[in-house]
């Protein structure tokens, strides 16, 4: 029997594996996908971005998606037919292999949204049952153990830190960041280097970044990207079993006793352990618990509260862009603009909280980055002329050549809170099964109108910067479409077993030995990407599990 069985090997599972196996416990990790090491990754755009090699084929594994519009009307999509894909990365280390690694901490007020900003009608916002101060030591630990590079710059919403600065210096940046910093200074905005989960130098037994020009979406060939695989699983003795799709957790008398899994060839296996940790990604963790019904838990494992699958959240906001064209630039500026490989790495958090009509609003973060270097979508985006007519032939070739060789697009991404609501949740579809015959997850999508209002406010600030920098063709889109790589909630933690699935240590209220450590526990998501918080919380929970095992 194992001491600990972890389901899922991403940012939620890997810190548990690292901490407990290094403490001498016998740990097994079950991962649905395959294992890749640094030498296995490459920059094959066709495989990675066009053929989705790291996510399951939708004809075999998919979701049913119910999309609610503002009037409450629902439209249902099958992922199999529509191609709507909510998978992120089925491989050892999960999607942390494929992230861009824009790392921001949540801020103290993010832990008490309800008591700070009051109730927003139609939303289910609650305060977290832990404070920023309780999580801070683990944010700090992630910087040092997993690896975060950056530079602390004082600004209005800089969160308290136990270490003065990041342990690894900033990654190299493109010359255009100087234009950005100048524009921000003129606008009295506080430009800050974006902290990145990418090592800027050799450290932690890993190589530093080699500036491949293809970071987000791709696995890292040097080990610089701080994935759960490179930073943690490859640095510990936890046993990782790949090709293991866990379809049921069996329980008896308040304890999980077994994890049942299938291989891709439908061979069944069982794992026994003292403690089980679920970290399969927010949607899949709720799905597994809902599919693990028993006489004791007829509505799904750990679901005596009825809260399981509820209050699913994403990151609200959207994205925008502006183009810099050679005609408006000096020779030196043109060279700076076209310098590839190095990063842009600039963020703004000036409006993490803002006032409007004498009322305080929770705002968010804006990250700036160059348009992704994938060349096929960049060429494809030129297929229409200014009047919306489809182009082909010589005209299209001329347009592509001019746009791609004499201009470059700077983009921005807005992150603000996706307010939890009754209609945004995870369920299971008894009538729709995956290739193993297991009911697929149902994703009920609904966004609160407040999310759009805040996103709009932030996007307009980003536009001001692009205008000041001299960009043209500035545009943005703030929408309620959910980013499939920024998912949280479904197994809320809280102090009341009647309204939450997990306790403050992310242990199921209903079971003695079941923990959930992916983003499922989060009642609200902050206005930042989630990965740093998932890592930090998982290190925190690892301490609790260690104590439980020692008892």
């Amino acid at each position: 029997m194992y001491d600990v069985c972890i389901v899922g090997s991403g940012a939620g599972g890997s810190p548990i594996a690292y901490e407990l196996s290094n403490a001498g416990f016998n740990v097994v990790v079950l991962e649905k996908g395959a294992n890749y090491r640094e030498e296995d990754f490459n920059k094959d755009e066709l495989a990675v971005s066009r053929r989705d090699m790291f996510t399951p084929p939708l004809k075999e594994q998919y979701h049913i998606i119910n999309e609610y519009d503002s009037s409450g009307e629902v439209t249902t999509y099958s992922g199999k037919e529509s191609g709507w894909n909510f998978w992120n990365g089925s491989l050892v280390g999960g999607s942390s292999n494929l992230m861009s690694g824009y790392f921001h901490r949540m801020k103290p007020k993010d832990f008490k949204l309800l008591s700070t900003y009051g109730k927003i009608e139609g939303s289910n916002v609650v305060d977290w049952c832990i404070s920023y101060d309780e999580l801070e030591p683990y944010y700090d630990k992630v910087e040092k153990v997993v690896g975060v590079s950056g530079e602390v710059v004082e600004h209005k919403f800089q969160e308290p830190r136990s270490s003065a600065n990041f342990p690894y210096p900033c990654l190299e940046t493109n010359g255009v960041t100087k234009w950005f910093d100048k524009a921000c200074k003129e606008l009295a905005f506080d430009s800050m280097p974006t902290p990145r989960a990418v090592l800027s130098q050799n450290a932690l037994g890993r190589n530093g970044c080699y500036y491949s020009n293809f970071c987000g979406s791709y696995g890292c060939s040097s080990g610089a990207k701080s994935s759960g695989r490179a930073a943690l699983l490859q640095k510990c003795n936890a046993k990782v079993i790949t090709d293991a799709f866990v379809y049921k957790l069996e329980s008896k008398e308040g304890r999980v006793t077994k994890a049942h899994y299938y291989t891709k060839h439908k061979i069944k296996h069982t794992i026994n352990a003292k403690i089980f940790v679920l970290s399969a990604q927010a949607i899949e963790s709720s799905r597994l618990l809902l599919n693990s019904k028993s006489a004791e838990f007829p509505d799904g494992l750990a679901n005596s509260s009825g809260a399981l699958g509820k209050n699913l959240i994403f990151s609200a906001g959207g994205s925008g862009s502006g183009r810099f064209i050679f005609e408006n630039l000096t020779k030196e500026q043109r060279e700076e603009l076209m310098q590839v490989g190095v990063f842009f790495n600039r963020s703004l958090q000036d409006w993490y909280e803002y006032e409007e009509a004498q009322k305080s609003y929770k705002g968010g973060t804006i990250d700036f980055l160059f348009e992704h270097q994938n060349i096929i979508p960049r060429a494809s985006r030129e297929m229409y002329d200014e009047d919306g007519n489809l182009l082909w032939g010589e005209k299209l070739a001329e347009k592509i050549h001019k746009r791609l060789t004499t201009s470059r697009v700077l983009t921005f991404e807005v992150f603000n809170d996706w307010l939890p609501t009754d209609k945004c949740s995870v369920g299971v579809a008894e009538s729709a099964k995956d290739k193993w015959g297991i009911p697929v997850g149902v994703i009920n999508l609904n966004s609160h109108p407040h999310d759009l209002k805040v996103g709009e406010h932030l996007a307009q600030k980003a536009v001001e910067v692009l205008e000041k920098m001299g960009a043209v063709e500035i545009e943005y889109s703030i929408s309620s479409s959910p980013p499939p790589n920024l998912i949280a909630g479904g197994c809320r933690f809280g102090n009341d077993p009647k309204t939450s699935v997990l306790d403050k240590n992310c242990k199921a209220h209903d079971l003695e030995n079941l923990y959930v450590t992916d983003a499922s526990f989060m009642p609200t998501g902050g206005s930042v990407p989630y990965t740093w918080t998932i890592y930090a919380n998982s290190f925190r929970v690892a301490e609790v599990i260690k104590s439980q095992l020692k008892e």
Binding site: N42, I375, A397
Partner: protein, 165 residues
Amino acid sequence: MQESWRRRNFLKVGFLSSVVFVMSGCKLFNISTLKESIDVVQNDLFPKAKELGIDTSGYLNRVILHHSRIREEDKLFLKNGVKWLNERAVEIYNQNYTKLSSSSRQEVLKDISKTKWGENWIYTMNRYIFEAMLGDPIYGGNNSEAGWKWLAFEGGKPRPTKEYL
């Protein structure tokens, strides 16, 4: 192993040789091959590829129409589009697409681009042309990185050492 590889490639080569029945009303009008039509229409849609020595129809046949990650209905749409293109050419000019003059072929493309299927088909065809031109040369297109050189683009490293099919 080697034999099965050969067999698979033989089957792949065979796909574009399959005939397309072009209908005019209820009557079978003409027989064209997919390969002949695709060769011509891809050159009409993006002549730069041929100029750079890149075999886009070979990529479509060998990689896309047999790829495990591309849905069967999407493959069928590509093939049906060739049939509908030819049917429209027959309706307008009483000739198969490949038999028309360059200017007449452009007129047919303009005509179908105004339909929903036609716009989608041209867009999709061009997208696969770009894949052939700008994907890694290991897939048989982007000959000597000619597509990347045209756009002063340097592919990411490390490069793949085998195709993902």
